[in-house]
Symmetry: C2
Subunit: 384 residues, 2 copies
């Protein structure tokens, strides 16, 4: 089972450690997204080398291909993909709502068609738990309803209440699995923990109610979901700030799908411990790179004869070996190596940022770090 | 300047060493193809790790993008791409004939349109030398005319004779560059050597005449070009066997664009020292993998639940870390990491094969090695 301990706080910012069956995670932590069993364009060794201790796998994709039962027969997701560290899996719900075809929602669950072959499937709270049990992730997420933005208070309340009922069904299913009361489901990782998810749209009262109901069910950790869906960053920070204090102090807090480097720092400042986002990896593949001096896009013609590294302050493989001129050439030439080199750099930037955040909290200098960070990394690079 | 020394022979097979301004190359050697400044899907460190000591760059691609003058301003190709070992560049001719649009050939050279933007360019023997001087490769190739297969004796003779005239112009241009008699061309690597190319289609008498004329011009090494263009392997081996003895014993011999693992062994058996081919890298991206037990295609459904490594006899990153089941999943899911892992494996197989060839020659057991190799690696894997 997973265990969380707080080592230090600095204001609302928290330094902690999450122990899992596959090793520890120092928090605040960023989880690179390995949708289909690989962080796109990287090897697992690369993911370790850039400093990631935990990765995220997408249940929707893995369920459809190669299938959770096949993965269970391989001994679970860790063994199948050759990643021996901790893994968190989402519930699959977000992709069912956003990626699948013809999704129909009922109290029972979500009926949808695979975006790959059109096959009909039903994702219920129980099934989301079973699939993740077969995958054997270290942290499983409950199935929640993903609310479109913007939504009325009424729609947000109705959706949030259903998410709470689904969360209860997810917890009951996991407890039944743990008790050995379910036939036909291989539990690949008996040490798997489960996180509840706070919903409620942009309404603080609903977030509050969701947090209380979710905590009452009782999980090994709590996520704040439904953020970074189009609302202004200031509103997101406000919602995080309002919600975090309602979550248990001694359990991990995870903001799902967030965010920019600034978002990470601002959410840590409001008491968040865990993050995941496709931004560093997806942006890398599009040529947008994060540096200590701000963002730049390597497609820009001005980099064509720029012999400097992407970021002189960065120690990643890419910055140690290659110039902006070469990286621009590889990108413009459509070489796959461009994606690899850019992804190595962006993930290093994200994970270095988390390391600096942890160090700042340890030395109780987080506020100073936060102010300096805002002046540099959260802008366009001066020469970009 | 490059220097070649023979250490040992075993029958016609030769063990040697090529010294270049960027380090030594033990021969027989295989050169991975890094068309646009990267071996597709790999980092330069990977290319070193799989055991490559020399790589090939394509002059046509680098001339068009990012341009040989830009590369010269970066200090040459080695510095631009971050590869400190030896590099061989082709003349650009093969791609002008096969890839460019509307190629028109005259005695002066080849007039063509870029396949990227339609811009008109003229590739003459002199220009092919100048471009490669700016790139600063360790070995530059002369511009030759690439004959279509099949061709009549008459067509092959006419083409071969033009190639000899072009070879003479290439040599004169290089000597002028070395003497400092050419303005406007930055020589990025004063130690660059130049190889002539024997042509003559499938006709032994023409190959013989071409070899004599090319050797008479005098180069630092000699290639046999125009092979592996559709002729049966047995005919290719026969042409290599007929041509190699006409080339100087104390200079390196390179068969261009060859080939399968079997081709490498058979050409070494006929006195060849150097090879390049896209086969290990391109096939990897298509899921076709070379193993000590033969070829297999990872797309095959039977690998879906196969927990074994690709090749139990292989020590590459892929075979040490991952199962066939995972590799099949990555391939079917379209993950870029599939290309990387498959390319690492196939290049390791090719470069390990060269190492085993060199060891066999050193111990004068090459014939035994060759017989055993034919029984295993040059077939479909028994369970593939």
């Amino acid at each position: 089972m997973i265990q969380f301990s707080l080592a230090q706080t600095d204001g609302a910012a928290r330094l902690g450690r999450l122990e899992t069956a596959h090793g520890p995670v120092d928090t605040p932590a960023f989880m690179p997204v390995g949708t289909q069993g690989s962080v796109k364009s990287l090897r697992q060794q690369d993911v370790r080398d850039v400093g990631a201790s935990i990765i995220l796998g997408n249940t929707y994709h893995l369920f459809l291909r190669p299938g959770d039962e096949l993965i269970a027969r391989r001994g679970g997701l860790h063994r199948f993909i050759g990643w021996s560290g901790p893994i968190l899996t989402d519930s699959g719900g977000f992709q069912v709502f956003s990626l699948a075809d013809r999704c129909t929602l009922t109290e029972e669950g979500a009926d949808f068609q695979s975006h790959l072959d059109g096959a009909r499937h039903m994702l219920t709270p129980e099934r989301a738990v079973d699939i993740q049990a077969r995958l054997g992730s270290d942290i499983a997420m409950v199935l929640d309803e993903c609310l479109a933005y913007p939504a009325t208070h009424e729609a947000a309340r109705t959706s949030m209440e259903r998410s709470v009922r689904w969360a209860r069904r997810c917890r009951e299913r996991l407890l039944a699995l743990r008790a050995g009361d379910v036939d036909g489901v291989t539990v690949s990782n008996p040490g798997q923990g489960q996180f509840g998810i706070v919903q409620g749209g942009v309404f603080q009262d609903l977030r509050q109610a969701s947090a209380e109901a979710t905590v009452e069910i009782g999980f090994e950790g709590y996520a704040i979901g439904g953020l970074s869906v189009g609302e202004p960053p200031a509103l997101m920070y406000e919602l995080v700030e309002g919600t975090a204090p309602s979550l248990p102090v001694n359990q991990p807090r995870y903001v799902m799908g967030v965010g920019t480097p600034t978002d990470l720092v601002e959410c840590v400042a409001r008491g968040i411990d865990m993050f995941d986002c496709v931004m560093p990896t997806r942006n890398a593949r599009n040529g947008q790179l994060f540096t200590s001096q701000g963002r730049l896009n390597i497609r820009n013609a001005r980099f064509g004869e720029d012999d400097r590294p992407l970021d002189p302050a960065c120690g990643c493989y890419t910055c140690r070996h290659h110039s902006r001129a070469y990286l621009r050439h590889l990108y413009m030439a459509g070489e796959m190596t461009a994606a690899t080199l850019n992804t190595l750099h962006n993930l290093t930037f994200y994970l270095d940022t988390m390391k600096r955040i942890r160090d700042a909290i340890a030395f109780r200098t987080f506020d100073k770090f936060r102010q300096e960070f805002m002046l540099t990394a959260s802008r366009l690079a001066p020469d970009a």
